[in-house]
């Protein structure tokens, strides 16, 4: 079952068309992100905020320090989703994040490098694993962790525009897995149906950047970096300085998961 699903597809769709589609999706993401930044003025806000923090800074941060902060940001905030204080949310985010990276990267590698050639078995394996991780993390989030369900008591099937990203992501991964399965069992018409749904949902995912929260994967690391710089330069976003006292008590509220809301 774990074969390159795009190889078999090349009999029907020329590899060049697949490659053009992938490039088109990358361009859609780039264009959507730029439009999103212009529309929400997020970059403008970000730099204005950074300037304000710089004006309130009590010390300057050296390049070496900034590099260390950048490395810490990547290691803690980006690679391990350290921002989340709710552990189930963090785990679900890690699953979907790494699932998406695996899925997207292996898709591109298989389409650009291994159509018509022998695909190393690890690639389709990682492709399926990525899609599966996306499904596990995504459905866990959708049914149990999403605040509309967990906090506001809404049913899981209530859909709003804010769900565009997670739903299109879930649909892409789910239809990809079903398409691959149908291909493996030789159900060609069903396989084509789910391939069509897979392409449709991935086009919505990558083409809907302006309306979804897709762009968070670009601006969140920048915001996390700025937050750490503000701590280092003493501006601390206006927060008081940490108390000069020893840590002698427990974690307090941080040890609890909010559960009555």
């Amino acid at each position: 079952m774990f074969t390159n699903p795009f190889s078999e597809l090349s009999g029907l769709i020329p590899p060049l068309a697949m490659q053009v589609y992938v490039i088109a999706m990358v361009l859609l993401v780039a264009g959507g992100t730029v439009l999103d930044m212009i529309h929400k003025k997020s970059a403008q806000y970000f730099f204005k905020n950074a300037e304000k923090a710089k004006a309130e800074a009590s010390r300057s941060v050296s390049i070496v320090e900034k590099t260390t902060i950048a490395v810490t940001t990547v290691a803690v905030d980006v690679l391990t989703s350290g921002e989340f204080c709710n552990q189930p949310r963090r785990q679900a985010h890690l699953l979907t994040m790494y699932g998406f990276i695996l899925f997207a990267a292996t898709t591109a590698i298989m389409i650009f490098g291994y159509i018509g050639a022998d695909t190393p078995v690890i690639l389709p394996l990682l492709w399926h694993l990525g899609a599966l991780m996306l499904c596990v993390g995504g459905y866990w989030f959708w049914f149990f962790i999403r605040v509309d369900v967990a906090a506001e008591g809404n049913p899981w099937y209530r859909v709003v525009r804010a769900d565009l990203f997670v739903l299109s992501l879930l649909a892409t991964a789910t239809f990809a897995l079903i398409w691959s399965f149908m291909q493996a069992v030789g159900a060609s018409s069903l396989s084509m149906l789910f391939f069509g749904l897979f392409i449709m949902s991935s086009t919505v995912l990558f083409g809907g950047v302006l309306w979804s929260k897709f762009a968070h994967m670009f601006f969140k690391p920048a915001a996390a970096f700025q937050k750490r710089v503000a701590k280092a330069d003493g501006s601390r976003d206006g927060l008081p300085a940490p108390a000069d006292k020893p840590e002698q008590f427990g974690l307090g509220i941080k040890r609890l998961l909010p559960k009555n809301y």
């Binding site: 709710n86 509309d148 008591g153 206006g238 108390a243 006292k245 002698q248 974690l251 909010p258 809301y261």
Partner: protein, 155 residues
């Protein structure tokens, strides 16, 4: 001065929703971040400000008597048992306060409680206040007590 949330700092964890005694801290349905849905009803206890693990909640006065420009920010460090406040006035003056978080053993601060056993885990997780409804003195207890936890506001 009611509270408001910096959307860019909030991660939607729900601690403020949990702790708000007025039940006016909610998670926004579109942005999935906390928001004070009814600042008029905020009794300014600052529980949410202090509870927020991301320091994403500030307070501000109503614009008619406290035009924007001032800032009140708080840093609660439970590991150290301290709470720090930074008040910034519109003219740039700044005041900093550092206070201990007062935690006293059961029955020491309120002597009457010494006669009662410390609430167990179940009582702590209950929606009722300490030794409610017995301490309220109602005959037969509270009426129409919901069997489930609150489910939020429906629109």
């Amino acid at each position: 001065m009611p509270t408001f949330v910096y959307m860019t700092r909030c991660d939607g964890c729900g601690h403020c929703v949990d702790i708000c005694p007025s039940d006016i801290m909610h998670i926004d349905k579109t942005l999935r971040r906390a928001t004070n849905i009814e600042p008029n009803m905020c009794w300014e206890c600052y529980s949410c400000v202090k509870a927020c693990p991301q320091n994403a909640i500030d307070v501000r006065g109503y614009a008619d008597f406290a035009p924007l420009g001032h800032k009140v920010r708080v840093l609660r460090e439970e590991e150290k048992g301290t709470i720090s406040w930074k008040i910034k006035f519109r003219d740039g003056r700044e005041k900093n306060f550092l206070s201990p978080i007062t935690t006293k053993p059961w029955g020491e601060a309120i002597e009457d409680l010494a006669t009662l056993p410390m609430p167990d885990e179940e009582a702590l997780n209950s929606q009722l206040l300490c030794y409610e409804p017995d301490v309220l003195g109602y005959e037969g207890g509270l009426r129409d007590l919901p069997g489930e936890l609150k489910q939020g506001v429906y629109y």
